[in-house]
Symmetry: C2
Subunit: 123 residues, 2 copies
């Protein structure tokens, strides 16, 4: 990234872009859901399975967040013609680009945690 020191228009563009990203991917669950779907790309991730697996999420939130992600083309919903009808969700190719964000967040958080521990133990 070229860092345009103090260049106001470039800064503003950056800030807008950052806000866009946070609007789409922010909140308590969106990145967790994407992470879940990315890591289990080759499983049948049905609604109930996700509700069970993603700790603490309620049906309402899962439903809402999946809709939001679908509207932003990050997730695909597909109805399966099974005994009791099931619906499975998967990341789209576009959705996978979110790893660009997930990875740094995980990485920084891990390093931060290690720093805190190192600080506390004094070494």
């Amino acid at each position: 990234m070229k860092i345009p020191k103090g260049d106001p228009p470039a800064c503003t563009q950056n800030l807008l872009a950052m806000r866009d990203t946070l609007d789409i991917l922010g909140g308590k669950w969106k990145l967790l859901i994407l992470h879940y779907l990315i890591f289990r790309e080759h499983e049948q991730n049905t609604f109930k399975k996700m509700e069970r697996d993603i700790e603490g999420i309620s049906a309402k939130m899962l439903s809402k967040e999946l809709k939001d992600l679908e509207n932003n083309l990050l997730v695909k919903r597909q109805v399966n013609d099974t005994k009791p009808i099931t619906v499975s969700y998967s990341v789209t190719e576009y959705g996978k680009t979110a790893t660009e964000i997930i990875f740094p967040l995980v990485s920084w958080g891990t390093k931060h945690r290690n720093m805190i521990i190192t600080q506390q133990t004094g070494r």
Copy 2:
């Protein structure tokens, strides 16, 4: 990043790390403030200057967010012995590591914006 497909402990670690990051850097203003301070590293960034420059922020929020950032060692506060006393803020070396997060957020947001535009104009 090694992607441990479906490996539950590794997934959980990732999710915790991601939450840590979002706890520290999430919210409406923290990344904007860090971005501001990183881009203007060599200026005297006083409280009032930041209040004027960062569009839409109130003194209350600026004060609170700066305290949080300071507590997490991302920002340094220093009182200057000037005519009317001033206080200036700067990123710490550790704070600069947040560019690891800021860059992908800016980058993804920019690409997303372009995608939306491309879609709308049909090309």
